[in-house]
């Protein structure tokens, strides 16, 4: 509406409100994306929004055993590094749990047993005893450290190869592709019949399809599981392909019928006059012309099947050869709930494909939504 543009303040207010809304909507996903690239220690000690700044954390490191001390002049010394081989910078340290940050870097602290301890910024520590030691338990060093932001691909390589997401990805793909392609073909023929062929009961069938659109899937679980077990399909890919085909068909037939019924009558009638059979008309005219509607439904069905958890839980087994990504992530939420880096990377792997499909084929998705909701209702 250009009229709103006549008032600059209003335009500003609208731009700002939209920016705010978009920010609100995007932030959760951005948080996940950033988290999935962070180092595991940093994820669990600081928020993802601090990912670019150095993160401070406190930890306890046990020094080497006193009996490994080597003589250095008149003292016996144990030395090492509190970080091991990880990067980091010591800010402060302590020798008692009551005062974990008692000393600054470079200062020398004294332990109750007389040992003199110093820690350098790079993590090197030096513990000096005045006499040789026998103990085998190293001193506990309390360290407050600052580590530079660490971004890594380790989380991804771990979930893909060690946590089974790679395998689950293949399983999801195995479920999704046939369950997307097969209903399209079946539905297209039915949609043509419902749109352009005259026969008694047609209106009733269309009403039936519209009714089936909203039947809750849960209704089908127990009867179909029993049926699958009776006929010997059991839990497996064949069963879930059939189930997804059944559950997707009402929308497929509905969307395609609406679209095909809207094609110009003259084309179809002139083909009939030329002696084309219904099969020819369908193959040569209807299919090529309905390409946008076919694409719309394909995207819907793809997103729905790829993202589905419930149908997979019911119709597939839980072995690694059948567990889909959503199912595995739910399991990880239970068993590895504290391992944020695993969760974040797994979730992002599962989100990546549908998001890509979404952004590249958005046009068709929107078109399908509009055909499904605005026109028919």
């Amino acid at each position: 509406m250009d009229m709103a543009g006549s008032k600059p303040q209003l335009t500003w207010a609208i731009n700002l409100s939209v920016a705010f809304l978009v920010l609100l909507w995007v932030i959760p996903t951005v948080g996940l994306l950033i988290s999935s690239f962070r180092d595991r220690d940093q994820i669990s000690t600081s928020g993802w929004w601090t990912a670019l700044s150095a993160s401070e954390r406190n930890f306890i490191q046990r020094a080497d055993a006193p009996n490994t001390a080597v003589r250095d002049g008149d003292v016996w010394v144990v030395s090492g590094n509190v970080f091991g081989d990880k990067p980091g910078e010591v800010v402060a340290f302590g020798v008692r749990s009551q005062a974990p940050e008692a000393f600054a870097v470079g200062e020398t602290g004294e332990h109750a047993n007389g040992a003199r301890i110093s820690v350098q910024a790079n993590g090197d520590y030096r513990i000096a005893y005045s006499e040789p030691q026998e103990g085998t338990r190293g001193l506990r060093l309390f360290v407050r450290s600052q580590s530079p932001p660490v971004f890594t691909l380790d989380n991804y390589s771990e979930v893909l190869f060690a946590e089974g997401i790679g395998r689950a990805f293949l399983n999801t793909l195995t479920v999704t592709v046939p369950a997307t392609i097969i209903p399209i073909l079946v539905a297209a023929f039915a949609a043509y019949a419902l749109a352009w062929m005259e026969f008694p009961g047609r209106a009733l069938l269309i009403a039936g399809i519209v009714g089936l659109l909203v039947v809750p899937l849960q209704v089908a679980f127990i009867p179909l599981l029993k049926l699958h077990n009776t006929v010997g399909i059991g839990k497996g890919y064949l069963g879930i392909w059939l189930a997804h085909t059944g559950f997707g068909l009402p929308l497929a037939v509905y969307l395609l019928r609406n679209y095909i019924a809207g094609l110009p009558r003259e084309i179809i009638e002139s083909a009939k006059v030329d002696g084309a059979t219904d099969f020819d008309i369908f193959r040569r005219i209807i299919l090529p012309l309905s390409y946008p509607a076919l694409a719309s439904f394909a995207i819907f069905q793809f997103l729905w099947v790829w993202n589905d958890l419930l149908v997979a839980k019911v119709f597939l087994g839980t072995g690694s050869n059948q567990l889909v990504m959503t199912g595995l992530i739910v399991e990880l939420l239970g068993s590895r709930g504290g391992d944020w880096e695993i969760l974040a990377a797994s979730a992002f792997v599962s989100i990546a494909v549908p998001t890509l499909v979404f952004f590249s084929l958005q046009k068709y998705l929107v078109r399908g939504l509009l055909a499904g909701s605005v026109k028919g209702g």
């Binding site: 709103a4 996903t29 392609i181 909203v214 890919y237 059944g246 559950f247």
Partner: protein, 331 residues
């Protein structure tokens, strides 16, 4: 890898099977009722009467087996015992009415039913109204719409990072608690606070569904005739007045469609609750309760089916409304 070949094989067999069925059944029909010879006219009429059913048969068979039959079968099972064999009348329904978890689920579903469609439609309407007026509206729309592509499970993980809770003495890594602490409040374990945690779960679905509402409502808003809007502006209406008094009343029909579509989704809501709380802390919903009864140690098909039939019953009014609208449109 082997399994991908299996899937590829299925696609090939499925696609060729379908095409083959349609192709050969049509040829067969033409052989049985040839369109020439002494009875050509009668044969053509007969073939034309049968052909639609050849086209419809696979769809009707699958729909019948995978959606229609289960509705009746579930109805029957809901009046059977745990194993699904013995008829017990309305015993399972009587049990439902006194089961605390069922009543809790019913209450929560009601809460979802009121709150989610309303909020998603509201945000959808606002963002549709606003994004249609700015230059980068298309980009903004696509970002708000994007959560629609994310699975409920993925969304649950995303929002765990928002709702995470650490003790007050630690640094918060959940965004919500970090904001609360920065504003001087105390951190909370949001998803364990009875009653209010339902709303924290609902926010996830609202986040996903607002984009859907926006896309559809935005198309409806653009379909409004320019004349009414211009007339209102000429009469001195402010943009806000035009939006609420002129535009919204003209798209009531579409708002109703969006509202009912989300309502149907909400009735079936499962994944978010399953992944976030699994029904603990007073967040149980019907679909998750049904799943519980179906897959717990010893499944109870009778009670599970009774819960399903309740969901089905709640959907029926919307089904009737949809069919009526579709019938009206075809006339």
């Amino acid at each position: 890898m082997q399994q991908l070949f299996f899937a590829a094989g299925t696609i090939v067999i499925g696609v060729f099977g379908c095409v083959g069925y349609f192709y050969f059944s049509n040829i067969l029909l033409d052989i049985i009722f040839p369109g020439r010879g002494p009875h050509a006219g009668r044969n053509i009429n007969r073939a034309n009467a049968i052909r639609p059913w050849l086209f419809l048969f696979p769809t009707l068979a699958v729909l019948g087996l995978y959606l229609v039959y289960p509705v009746f079968s579930s109805g029957w099972l809901s009046m059977s015992d745990a194993g699904g064999d013995t008829f017990v009348g309305f015993e399972n329904y009587a049990w439902l009415l006194q089961d605390r978890k069922f009543l809790e689920s019913l209450g929560n579903n009601a809460l979802w039913l009121v709150f989610v469609p309303a909020a998603a439609t509201f945000f959808g309407l606002i963002s549709a109204g606003l994004t249609d007026r700015i230059k980068w509206g298309a980009a903004a729309k696509s970002l708000i719409f994007m959560p629609m592509a994310i699975s409920f499970v993925g969304a649950a993980v995303i929002w765990k990072f928002i709702y995470d809770y650490r003790g007050a003495d630690q640094e918060q890594i959940g965004l919500l608690n970090a904001v609360v602490v920065a504003l001087g409040g105390d951190p909370h374990a949001w998803i364990t606070i009875p009653f209010w945690n339902n709303f924290f779960l609902m926010i996830i679905l609202i986040w996903i569904q607002s984009g859907f509402a926006m896309v559809i409502l935005s198309a409806a808003l653009r379909g409004i005739s320019e004349e009414t809007i211009e007339a209102a502006f000429l009469d001195g209406a402010t943009p806000l007045q035009v939006f609420f008094r002129i535009k919204i009343p003209q798209i009531w029909g579409t708002i109703a469609v969006v509202w009912t579509t989300i309502t149907v989704l909400v009735l079936k809501i499962f994944d978010i609750v399953f992944a976030m709380t699994n029904g603990q802390w007073g967040t149980q919903v019907l679909a998750n309760l049904m799943y519980d009864w179906m897959f717990r140690g010893t499944p109870d098909f009778g009670r599970g089916s009774a819960i399903v039939m309740v969901i089905m019953l709640l959907v029926v009014p919307i089904m009737a409304w949809n069919i009526r609208n579709a019938a009206k449109e075809m006339r």
